[in-house]
């Protein structure tokens, strides 16, 4: 079983040289720490920066330089800054090669829910609906089950949707799965996790073909 850092490390393996990448709040933000050495990517934050760098050193925080999670950040050499309309032109116009975001629920047809629990929690969708509606390559980073042990990989989402039929790949603490027309296809197992464990934790349709390899993390 992976922890959140393990999930981030596994998704970092998906990064390809030259990509522009948008990372959501939570686990996705951690991915920036595990970019492979031979890969150069630029991180976009939808509040208006391309070429986002690491957190500033203590004492060098700038209130005018934050990411979409409102955290203080730095700008890499060659970074650029723009307004919100331009930022979403990059996103809607498919100039960003990969979007990674968290989710509360994913359905086996690629539907995603991550912005609202009716009557209980309404934080808003932020940029998530624009991102999932347009991105060609969407990876969801999340735990396989919720705090009550219930599967987050469902036949159908129960919460209000963020987007329809858009998720391509899911990396959880238990597995890597792809969304196919016939359901979730198991691609890799987390270290020490059996196919049976994954089947038990997955409510949506699960396709298992042959020996499913274990993830290899650096």
């Amino acid at each position: 079983m992976l922890d959140k850092i393990g999930i981030a490390k596994r998704i970092a393996q998906e990064l390809q040289d030259g990509w522009y990448v948008n990372l959501g709040i939570g686990i996705p933000t951690l991915i920036a720490n595990y970019v492979p050495d031979n890969v150069n990517v630029e991180f976009q934050s939808e509040n208006g920066i391309l070429g986002m760098g690491p957190f500033p050193f203590e004492g060098e925080e700038d209130a005018d330089l934050i990411n979409a999670g409102k955290q203080t950040i730095t700008a890499m050499p060659g970074a650029c800054i723009f307004d919100s309309a331009t930022s979403f032109a990059m996103i809607r116009g498919q100039h960003i090669q990969l979007t990674v975001l968290g989710a509360m629920e994913v359905a086996d047809n690629g539907d995603i829910a991550n912005w609202k629990i009716p009557g209980r929690m309404v934080k808003g969708m932020g940029g998530a609906m624009d991102l999932v509606a347009s991105a060609e390559n969407i990876i969801v980073a999340m735990m396989h089950t919720n705090k009550r042990g219930k599967s987050k990989l469902l036949r159908q989402c129960t919460l209000p949707l963020t987007g329809v039929k858009c998720v391509k790949r899911i990396v959880t603490n238990m597995a890597v799965l792809d969304v196919t027309p016939d359901g979730f296809k198991l691609i890799e197992r987390a270290p020490g996790v059996s196919i049976e464990d994954i089947q038990a934790a997955t409510e949506g349709r699960l396709i298992v073909e042959g020996d499913v390899p274990e993830m290899v993390l650096a």
Partner: protein, 231 residues
């Protein structure tokens, strides 16, 4: 043409209860602090506020929420504000949540003379309910209408007395689009300079969009999430 006003109180003259305001900023970054303080002081109520976020409990638009001056918020993300969540869940506050990119583009469209546009964002979700759907290149899109406001209030780093503005860092965010979409647009700046002092090649918001400008008295520029690394 004299756009310069003395201070925030003078800048917000004419703002009345029940009006629609646009306020720039993302989180607490790039918000018009001085005008928000002046609006609290003025005590106008029943305001509709278009702003990406709603501040935190004791700063930004949270200050207007505390005083129950806001009737309706049009935003994309409103976490990090307990009073907001309480007022929304109890039904005291009307909230229209819209995708961030649609919010930005609706403001831009409002200022650019585009009455509406189609976007894929929100199709198949609550956001798309009741909206016209059209397929382009085989993909469904929903119709979104432009937004305008009685007053737009933006914050810039530097401005000249003609209203030309330059923003700093990610404090730019929604400010340029909102500056375009106000019937009257107020700019508060950290440094107000004379025409000719700003390089025309580096102006972010052309002065034509700005009706009133002043240098803010002071800027707290509060940081919402201070994240650092050690040397």
């Amino acid at each position: 043409m004299n756009k310069v006003v003395a201070n925030a109180a003078a800048a917000i003259e004419g703002i009345e209860s029940g009006m629609t305001l646009m306020l720039g900023g993302f989180g607490l970054c790039g918000i018009p602090e001085n005008c928000i303080a002046a609006l609290v002081e003025l005590g106008v109520t029943n305001m509709t506020c278009i702003s990406n976020n709603a501040g935190v409990d004791d700063f930004g638009l949270g200050l207007l929420l505390q005083k129950r001056q806001i009737k309706k918020m049009i935003s994309s993300y409103v976490g990090e504000n307990d009073e907001f969540e309480r007022q929304m869940l109890s039904g005291e506050l009307e909230v229209d949540l819209i995708p961030q990119g649609s919010l930005a583009e609706r403001c831009r469209a409002g200022g650019a003379g585009i009455p509406a546009f189609f976007t894929p964002a929100g199709y198949g979700t609550e956001v798309g309910h009741g909206k016209e759907v059209r397929y382009f290149n085989g993909k469904p899109h929903i119709l979104e209408h432009a937004l305008t406001a009685d007053f737009a209030i933006v914050k810039a780093w530097k401005g000249d007395t003609n209203g030309n503005l330059i923003y700093k860092g990610t404090a730019r965010n929604f400010n340029p689009m909102m500056a375009m979409a106000g019937k009257i647009t107020i700019a508060e700046v950290e440094e107000l300079v004379q025409p000719g002092e700003l390089d025309p090649n580096y102006i972010h918001t052309p002065g034509v969009f700005i009706q009133r400008i002043f240098q803010g008295e002071k800027y707290e520029k509060r940081i919402e999430q201070r994240t650092v690394r050690t040397k």
